[in-house]
Amino acid sequence: MTAGVRHNVSFETNNIVLIALVAILYSLFKMATVWRSQCAFARLFAGKTGQILNNATDLGTKLGPGSQSAILAKKYSNYAHSPFVTKIKEQYDYEIVKNPPEWGYVQRLLPFDTIPAVTPKDSYPSGWVPPKEEAKTLPFFLCRTRNHEIPIYLQITYRGIRKITKIKRIEGDIWLLNDEIKSYLKEKNNRYVETRVQEVGRFIEVKGDYVNQLVDWAHSKGF
């Protein structure tokens, strides 16, 4: 009788150990399936994987057991309402390099704070012409764009039937500027050229495609 009881007891303890083992194995297996089904780097960003590049790995941290199953088990409609991931432990070794020699490569990649001013050169093979100082003495002025180009554009409308050359960013006596443009184009093309001056919008529209001629004229004036 006593032996039987003992046997029973040991069986029960055995059973408990077995159940516990099975439970641990099951939980590990479940974790593994979760990791495999989600991307490997989805552990930290459960529900927010869209931001992660698919060839990036997030191996810097590893979660403790039980931290992510609770998160992945429930789908939250809103990322903001999902709880923070807890029990993160750092797993991988890394060193922090202060003042690294490679910092120059990083700075080279950062965007310009402002558009750089053009340093004077002997020649500009692309045909770009720097503005001259003498242009500032004229009664009118044509301001360069932020990309250091002359703001003269061609506007094509009605399927290429109407072509209008638009001179923008003009300052000063724009009516005098208009007269000069008109006489210049009349001399060049031997024909009357229609223009329209917009005083409020500060632009002049010339009927026809005269972009190259007007850019040449602006260069000759030093704008």
Binding site: E95, K98, Y105, T119
Partner: protein, 294 residues
């Protein structure tokens, strides 16, 4: 009670009541409803559906059906202009003239190797990796005026362009970047701020491997000896004497090349760049090093 009080009372009532919607709308009290449908001139009409046929019965024919004729959409033979369009890679063009213009206006530094990151940084060229645009196609417009001596890395280049650059003593490489790497190259600052480790560059897809392993197109996976042979061949074809870049003062810069797994010059995959503290986190773990070197 004056009318003013009535207005205020009803206004306060309106404030407390829920908004009117289809869910809580109802008829006025004591309104009279006609229980019968009128069969007179308009009340008992066909309701706009006409008399007889599919109009009245609302059983319309399927789209394109021509009651037994050979329908138009089958009569005309198909021409698949856009077959495979969703798989094609696009390389938005940048001409040599534009490149020279950027150099003239100091948007590009000739003393550093030029890649797509520095071209986009100039602010004059832009591209969209999410629209299947895979980087710069350097075109030959302005090849005659191009004089800069550069070490440039583009994604696509023609023979004329290669000749124009090598004639001036420059070096050109065509390199493939996967769309995610291109996203990083387009805006490196945003990526560094995200705090992620720099990923590896992926290898080109099967249909692009030939281009990027060929020495003729100066592919980044080609044999360097083959490339030097092809440089000489091209110079003989176009009739210019190939400048000896080994004697140049900036020979080291001209030789600077990225690893096929590398995205940024001088920065290895696996590193994390901290812009705020100006430091770089480098992995030391063997597992990580093995992963990023593979």
């Amino acid at each position: 009670m004056g009318s003013r009080q009535i207005t205020e009372k009803s206004l306060s009532m309106l404030r407390s009541l829920p908004r009117i919607s289809l869910g809580n709308i109802r008829d006025n009290p004591n309104c009279k409803k006609n229980p019968k449908r009128g069969r007179a001139q308009h009340g008992g009409d066909k309701h706009g559906a006409g008399n007889k046929g599919s109009g009245q019965r609302q059983n319309f024919m399927r789209l394109g059906y021509e009651t037994g004729n050979n329908p138009f959409y089958l009569r005309v033979p198909q021409e698949h202009y856009y077959r495979g369009q969703h798989l094609r890679r696009e390389y938005p063009p940048l001409s040599l003239h534009q490149l020279q213009n950027m150099i003239d206006k100091d948007r590009l530094d000739v003393n550093q190797p030029i890649d797509i990151a520095s071209i986009v940084r100039s602010g004059i060229y832009n591209f969209f990796p999410d629209l299947k645009q895979f980087g710069v196609n350097l075109t030959d417009e302005g090849a005659d005026i191009f004089v800069a001596k550069v070490n440039i890395e583009v994604q696509w280049a023609s023979e004329q362009v290669i000749a124009a650059i090598e004639k001036n003593g420059g070096v050109i490489t065509t390199a493939y970047y996967d769309p995610h790497s291109l996203l990083l190259l387009k805006n490196p600052k945003k990526f560094f701020e995200s705090g992620q480790a720099i990923p590896r560059r992926m290898i080109p897809p099967p249909d692009a491997i030939e281009f990027y392993t060929s020495a003729k197109t100066r592919g980044y996976l080609a044999d360097p000896e083959e490339i030097s042979k092809e440089r000489l061949k091209l110079s003989q074809k176009y009739g210019y004497s190939l400048p000896n870049i080994e004697k140049e003062s900036n020979y080291e810069m001209l030789c600077e090349k990225k690893d096929p797994r590398q995205i940024f010059y001088g920065l290895e995959p696996g590193w994390v760049v901290n812009l705020k503290d100006e430091c770089i986190l480098k992995p030391k773990d063997q597992e990580l090093l093995q992963f990023y070197n593979s």
